[in-house]
Structure formats: C-alpha cells, structure tokens
C-alpha cells in the first residue's frame, strides 16, 4: 500500500517486541503510525494481544495424584 508509514511486513515482524516494550522509541512511533493507518495490521495486532491473553489458560494442570505417583515410581531408583 502506497503512503503507509511502514510496510506490513516490517510492522508484523515487530509486534511482539512492541508489546514487550523493546522497540526503540522511533521504531515504536513508526509502528504505531502504521497501525493507525492500516486496518489489516491493526486487526493482526489486536488479535495477537487477545491470543497472548488467552494462552496462559491453555496451560493444563496434571491430575493431583501425578506428583505422588511420580514419587512412588522413582522410589525404587533413589
């Protein structure tokens, strides 16, 4: 797209760094200007943020008994 402050690819490659506050200020401003001007990259950014919010909940806990079963399994080897 002509006239955008940065390319789509340049912007997408830096979204995680931006979210983690690791982009230099000038690059951050360039990225923000692109997100304001480009609905597609803005959607990509918003959905990436949503994904990062949802991921920790997909961390499954084991059955409570697993720790004790593991200890029992190890005892003959300890």
């Amino acid at each position: 797209m002509v006239g955008l402050p940065a390319s789509h690819r340049w912007t997408r490659r830096r979204l995680s760094a931006y979210l983690e506050g690791e982009l230099p200020r000038r690059a951050g401003r360039r990225l923000e200007a692109h997100l304001v001007a480009c609905p597609q990259c803005h959607r990509t950014f918003m959905t990436l943020v949503a994904l990062l919010g949802a991921l920790p909940a997909s961390h499954e806990q084991p059955l409570e008994s697993l720790a004790e079963r593991t200890v029992e399994h190890l005892r003959p080897h300890l």
Binding site: R12, R13, S16, R43, M46, T47, L48, A50, P62, R75
Partner: protein, 196 residues
C-alpha cells in the same frame, strides 16, 4: 521455614531422598505443562514426567548450581520431549504466520476466554503443530510464564534467537485462529466483535 530449591538440591546431592521427593512434588506441574504439548496424550505426558525426574535424579551429581534448579530441570524436560517427537514419524512442519485477509476481528470473541470448547482445542492443536524449537519457546514463555532470559537459558540459545522463535510461533498460532474464525463465520450466532 520452607527450604528453597537450592537447599533441597544440596540435601538431595548429599543423598537425602526425601529432599528430592519434595523437589518432584514442587515441579511436577511445571514439567507436565511443559511436556504435554509435545505428547500425543496425557498418559504419554505422565510417563514422560516420570522419565524426566528419573534422569534428573541420575544427573543431579553433575548439577553445579550455575543456573536455577528449575531451568536445569526444564532443559532435561525439553530435550526428552523433543527426543520423543523426533522418534515419531511425522510430516515436516512448515510455519505459516501470514495473516488471513478475510478473517474477522476475533480479538473480543467470547470463545477465546472460555476454559473449554472448540477454541481451546484449536489452540492446543496449533501449538502442537509448531516446529519443536518454536513450540518450546512459546510454551516456556507464554504458557509457563518464564522470562525471555529464563526461557533462553532453558533452551540454551541467545535471547535474540528465543525472541525470534517466540514471535514466529505466536504469529503462526494467531494465523490458525484466523483460519478457525474465518471458516466458522457464516455459521456463528455470536459473531466476534459484534455486540461485545
């Protein structure tokens, strides 16, 4: 006072089995969460957890305390998990992280915050389809909540490499959700981004 991991490791290295058993109890959940995305089911993950702790016990004499105990333990877990994946015949995984132009904005989809359901399964499958190095980076950082420095230490790579893998993994999982929401759009009553 509750002993730290490092205190328990010292005792275990001196032959105190109960100290090692306490380390097992503390870290079973973390190791399980780490290896599950590399396994075909929960049973395989449980079996792998036991194998990881057995290897850790056998290698404990060589642990010199240069890193935290859990990063050393997680390194064993990741290596064992990757070994299991490599033993299975599977197609070469490519990593597609380009957004899908026609996908809707699903950033406020109610399904995304549900603890169960189709989106959870899509997420698990997407994570399980990542190449192993990218999968490990995402699981350690975004599921287990390690810092980038800790995750890089576990994977024995520089922070730059870790962050690069992590970003590509996130974008690939994000794309899979693009595919899911784009495919389901005509049938969905609760369109994301609609009223809420």
């Amino acid at each position: 006072m509750i002993p730290t991991d490092e205190v328990l490791v010292g005792r275990a290295q001196a032959g105190d089995r109960a100290a090692f058993e306490e380390l097992v109890r503390r870290h079973t959940g973390g190791v399980y969460g780490l290896v599950l995305p590399f396994c075909q089911d929960r049973h395989e993950a449980e079996d792998l957890v036991q194998e990881v702790f057995l290897r850790a016990w056998r290698a404990l004499g060589r642990f010199e305390g240069r890193s935290r105990f859990f990063t050393w333990l997680y390194r064993i877990a990741v290596n064992e998990a990757k070994r299991r994946v490599e033993r299975r015949p599977s197609p070469e995984r490519s990593l597609d992280d380009e957004p899908i132009a026609e996908a809707p904005d699903w950033s406020r989809a109610p399904e995304l915050v549900a603890e169960q359901g189709a989106v959870r399964e899509v997420l698990r499958t997407a994570i399980g389809n990542l190449p192993t190095d990218h999968r490990a980076a995402l699981v350690l950082r975004d599921l287990q909540g390690l810092s980038s420095a800790e995750a890089a230490d576990v994977l024995d790579v520089g922070e730059g490499a870790l962050k690069s893998r992590l970003h590509r993994a996130r974008m690939a999982v994000r794309r899979t959700l693009d595919e899911y929401f784009a495919a389901g759009l005509p049938d969905r009553a609760d369109q994301p981004g609609g009223s809420g």
